[in-house]
């Protein structure tokens, strides 16, 4: 996945789309005060400069699906593993909840069900997406790159004996984003994602951790008139 920070206007449409697609529970004000909100995708906002007139920067932060994932090494029961397609898969039914993976993640994108948030939510069961497991209490969860959409595309492709197309899978955040910030695809087949990752603005967050994340960002450029703009 490649995220274009120049296009991101911070409108939060992707965050709600992610909650709708992946049955993410709402935790209520008390638990948000207790720092236990469950969003898999958060828009980090950094101020830079003076408090009177700071420069403001948005950065969507989600699981980076690192190739050398610090979370996979420390899980004692192997509840988070790397699959052949490069996804960092979180197996909810295997997780016993030691939370070491969240401590070891430099991006802090893993969320934990301290209580049975999904069970307590006043949302009828029919309102949930049947393609995604509803997580129980004591289980860690994180962005899965909409694994249910990847699985559907993979099953259709395998049944037709063809590889999954480059742009065949669209994640929920990519689909909802009004300014097309997210570019996701099967890099083995080339396509838009590979183009975006070749752009000179591409960088990796916390690359000194050498986690080799699958999510790269394109640096935000401010056109102060000196550029090739007007």
């Amino acid at each position: 996945m490649s995220i274009d920070l120049n296009a991101c206007i911070g409108c939060n449409a992707c965050v709600v789309a992610c909650m709708a697609e992946n049955n993410i529970p709402v935790v209520g004000k008390q638990q948000v005060m207790h720092e236990r909100e469950m969003h898999w995708l958060r828009i980090d906002r950094y101020y830079e400069g003076s408090p009177e007139a700071p420069d403001m920067l948005f950065q969507p932060m989600l699981c980076q699906h690192c190739e050398r994932a610090p979370c996979e090494i420390v899980c004692p029961v192997g509840a988070t593993v790397h699959d052949e397609e490069g996804l960092n898969v979180m197996v909810y039914n295997r997780c016993v909840g030691t939370r070491f993976c969240s401590n070891n993640c430099p991006y802090k994108v893993r969320r934990f069900n301290y209580f049975a948030f999904a069970a307590e939510e006043r949302r009828p069961a029919v309102a949930r997406n049947p393609e995604v497991t509803v997580r129980a209490r004591g289980v860690m969860e994180k962005c899965t790159f909409c694994l249910q959409r990847i699985a559907a595309a993979r099953i259709d492709a395998d049944a037709a004996n063809r590889p999954v197309g480059a742009e065949e899978v669209q994640t929920a955040c990519q689909a909802a984003c009004p300014t097309q910030v997210f570019t996701f695809g099967n890099m083995a087949e080339g396509g838009q994602v590979v183009e975006r990752k070749k752009s000179p603005l591409t960088y990796v967050v916390l690359d000194d951790q050498d986690t080799q994340p699958r999510v790269t960002y394109e640096a935000r450029i401010r056109n102060d008139g000196s550029g090739a703009g007007a």
Binding site: Y46, V74, P76, G97, F100, S102, N104, F112
Partner: protein
């Protein structure tokens, strides 16, 4: 009481010692108001059981842990208790190998401290799980899912380390108890106690072959226990060193944790033998020499730990990594700075008073220093666990942590359970290892 007291005061001899010590275990009243002393620990133990039941019922959310700081009191208490337990093994196993005579009288109480310290530590890895009823998935048993635990995880090494440590320290403690149980069996006043101690003594009659096997086995076990406790506690250190979290992944942690075990172990032993000595009138066998030696050991391990803190700071600043330095500054001057400076005060500065012999013999000051060290060690674990987690690499994930009421109740509960255990030991088995004392006491002059 002078630092040069003999290991046992003049005039102490075997028969008196045996009568006195076995009397404590056999007579109904251990000491005058013995029953009242057991009420508070029993209450705290029931608090522990209550908070554990509510924890299983409501979930880990009742504790104060939250999103960036996913580990809290459970892991702090676990490391703190296992350090106290490991301290006991050092005395009973390490100093057995060095043939130091002063160890004989306090060996039994140190070994019991290990037992109950490990018991308190052992429950936490299961309590802190999100789904504790699945803890057995950490065990590599052949299951219908065809899945094995993930062997690269420090938590799994922890699981094996604690398991072996608990089993081996129970065996070592029980083995050290056999001859004394035989003595008690022979002196038991009532039929009931006779059968009880008889069964527990496993038919030990003190024949020369039995003694030969016994000493061989005890020596081997001690030789095994000494390195085992170092490896167990360094694995506990690897829990943190194995992670890439800010402030944890430094190679110094395993030895640093063993220094911590030295320190908290000696402090706890001091805290146990001083009141016991007075209440059970064992001044003859636990003399000034013991206090002096333990005081000096406390001082040396405090210097070890002090070196550890300095190296921690040096690694951070020498390493020059931005996130590490930010976290370290937060540790020194941030929201939790008070806890860090308490660690330095209690673990390093206060024990320096032990340089003076007068201080080492003044039981009140030594007790205060020991309590200080115990609190200091807890604060050190708090700094390691919480302060490192609350300042991760991405500033958008900074967070705070406050222990909830259930955290404190569980902690107090385990302290109560520990003291309850020690009092039980004092009540049921001889507090001093009689057969080892006989080796150093002279026979009674006719």
């Amino acid at each position: 009481m002078t630092p040069f007291d003999p290991v046992a005061l003049a005039g102490s001899n075997n028969p008196d010692m045996t009568d006195h010590v076995s009397g404590i275990a056999l007579r109904s009243k251990a000491f005058r108001w013995g029953w009242i002393a057991i009420v508070l620990p029993a209450a705290l133990t029931s608090v522990l059981i209550g908070s554990i039941l509510y924890l299983f019922y409501a979930g880990v959310g009742i504790w104060g842990i939250d999103w960036p700081v996913a580990w809290g009191f459970a892991i702090i208490n676990y490391v703190w208790w296992i350090a106290i337990a490991s301290g006991g093994t050092f005395i009973s196993a390490l100093f057995f190998l060095t043939r130091s005579e002063w160890r004989n009288s306090i060996n039994r109480i140190a070994e019991s401290m290990t037992l109950f310290g490990a018991a308190c530590a052992g429950i936490y890895p299961i309590l802190h799980l999100g789904r504790p009823w699945l803890f057995y998935w950490l065990f590599p048993y052949p299951n219908t899912m065809g899945l094995w635990p993930q062997f690269r995880s420090p938590l799994l090494w922890d699981f094996f380390a604690i398991l072996t440590y608990v089993i081996s320290s129970v065996v070592f403690w029980y083995l050290g108890l056999l001859p004394d149980l035989a003595t008690l069996r022979d002196r038991a006043p009532t039929r009931g106690k006779q059968v009880l101690y008889g069964v527990m003594a496993l038919g030990f009659r003190g024949t020369s072959t039995q003694w030969r096997h016994y000493h061989a086995l005890y020596g081997v076990l001690a030789a095994v226990m000494a390195p085992l406790v170092c490896s167990v506690h360094s694995i506990v250190g690897l829990d943190f060193a194995g992670a890439a979290t800010v402030g944890w992944h430094s190679t110094m942690y395993p030895p640093f944790f063993i220094f911590g075990a030295f320190l908290s172990g000696f402090a706890t032993v001091l805290l146990l033998i001083m009141p016991m000595r007075r209440l059970l009138r064992l001044e003859r066998y636990i003399t000034g020499r013991h206090l002096d030696v333990l005081g000096r050991l406390l001082l040396t391990s405090s210097l070890f730990v002090g070196y550890g803190y300095i190296m921690d700071a040096f690694n951070t600043y020498y390493g020059g990594e931005k996130a590490e330095i930010t976290m370290y500054q937060e540790r020194l001057f941030g929201y939790y700075a008070g806890i860090y400076w308490a660690t330095i005060l209690f673990n390093v500065l206060l024990p320096q008073l032990l340089w003076f012999a007068a201080v080492r013999l003044n039981q009140l000051v030594v007790a205060l220093i020991a309590i200080g060290v115990i609190i200091g060690m807890w604060c050190e674990r708090y700094t390691i666990v919480v302060v490192s987690l609350h300042r991760p690499r991405l500033p958008s994930a900074y967070g705070l942590y406050h222990g909830s009421i259930w955290d404190w109740l569980t902690l107090m509960g385990t302290v109560g359970f520990f003291v309850f255990g020690i009092l039980l030991i004092v009540r049921l088995i001889p507090v001093i290892s009689m057969f080892e004392m006989r080796e150093i006491l002279a026979p009674r002059r006719p």
